[in-house]
Amino acid sequence: MANKMGRALLYTLLCLAAFYYLLPLYVMFITSVKDLDEIRSGNLLSFPTSISFDAWSKAWSSACTGVECHGLSSYFFNSVKMVIPGVLISTTLGAINGYVLAKWRFKGSEIVFAMILFGVFMPFQVLLLPMAQTLGWLGIASSTTGLVFVHVVCGLASTTLFFRNYYVGIPDELIKAARLDGAGFWRIFFKIILPMSTPIIMVTLIWQFTNIWNDFLFGVVFSAGDSQPITVGLNNLANTSTSVKEYNVDMAAAIIAALPTILVYVFAGKYFVRGLTAGAVKG
């Protein structure tokens, strides 16, 4: 009897928690499909009497972000242009670094690893001022190329860490056998290591994708006008002071900005969680 009560209490608590986590998503969505009158007359949780996606199309193509009124679409594509090369380059470098640091150690390689590792923890505020100057000298300030560069440099630490820790688990005997057969550095990498790497590649791709897509600091500091990423666009839109605050447009914009990472989470949830926990174990 007491046990049954306990179970019921347990399920109640768990469902309440689920409610708490889902609440903002629900509120965001229903607010985005209400019109402004209904937002004012109803409340946060009240269900809309009629559903309209006007706020969505406005958020996408005509809402004002500061002085410009083109909606979020251009910011969205800026983020796409930034995230694809950023993720691919940092993951590739991470794989090669991890391979060397795990399987081709040399004198001092542990120190190199420790030095790279500190980059995982470093507060990026320290980099902002010198980086702004350097990007200027390189001629890639306020450009998507500049942002990609920054994300590659700052992502190296975590991608290297992921691959290194994964490759440490691959038996050395495999490499030794391949070397006896005459395989060299690259051959071993492409023929043996890479085919075994699918799980960690997925983890790293997802980790880097969410990090770069969600970044705001570098976006706000190192980009301007036509290179700003979606997070900056959303922030500009939500903090633009207009006479009439359009909460439905703000919420539609927030969902648009969140959609790519939510989709990744839904479709590759297993790898997402693994990425988070892998990042947590030593990062």
């Binding site: 768990l14 090669i96 030095m115 320290v126 980099l127 902002l128 550095f185 705001f216 500091v221 927030a254």
Partner: protein, 300 residues
Amino acid sequence: MSTSAQEAQYGFAERWLPRLVLAPSFLLTLFFLYGFILWNGYLSFTVSRLMPNLEWTGLAQYQILFENERWWVAVKNLFIFAGLFIGSGMAIGIGLAIFLDQKIRGEGVLRTIYLYPMALSFVVTGTAWKWMLNPGLGLEKLMHDWGFTQFTFDWLVNSEMSIYTVVIAGVWQSSGFVMALFLAGLRGVDDSILKAAQIDGASLPRIYWKIILPALRPVFFSTLMILSHIAIKSFDLVMALTGGGPGFSSDVPATFMYAMAFTRGQMGVGAASSMMMLATVAALVVPYLYSELRGKKNGE
């Protein structure tokens, strides 16, 4: 003859290729992390304001920083935020992990729901909570509609309370992540220990408190590291939720640094404040990294 020549060739390639391959990343790290730390450190000792100016001024910028009321508000806010963010996030996350560990039906669905906020950016989280905590239309109006007409909730625009709204949104976002880490840890605990304790007649809460949670000490430390690290770095959430306001009442060091270096033309002070952030992180992380790397070596 030819085989030994080949071997020698391989030997040479195998000796140098790995280093050569690692070199670009090593140089990038050396220049862009360590070089920039020095560079930024140097800037903090110069008179730089709107533009970098290499004229040395000693500790003057640090003095300006330490005499700036806004900096101390930011530091105090960081302590309030970090303390509550870490404390509540841990408590909620560990609680949920233990509940979910009780052979729950629908565990997968619940886990997915608890963790999804971690996929969102802090800007999205901030925008969403800004709407919900909005005095007048958000939570306040909801409570009024439900009959609690005296209910007021104006923390977002109340300079005494604004930092606590950042805690609310921050905990919502990352407590599910703590849950995931601890659930993974709980699944790694040996079942036989549990059974032995149960046979001895220990109650379930006692088993968790005395046996299981102490066994999860490493998970606890990693989580603590990550959460404090997120707290010190937190910038986006504050910018999206309160913008550091009202006034500068919800500033944290990260937003202070941004304001000084990029909007108020106080580059030297901005550089000095980021050095203080670095020092704080280093004090936390260097001993941790040291023990992790040492521990691994011994384990191998």
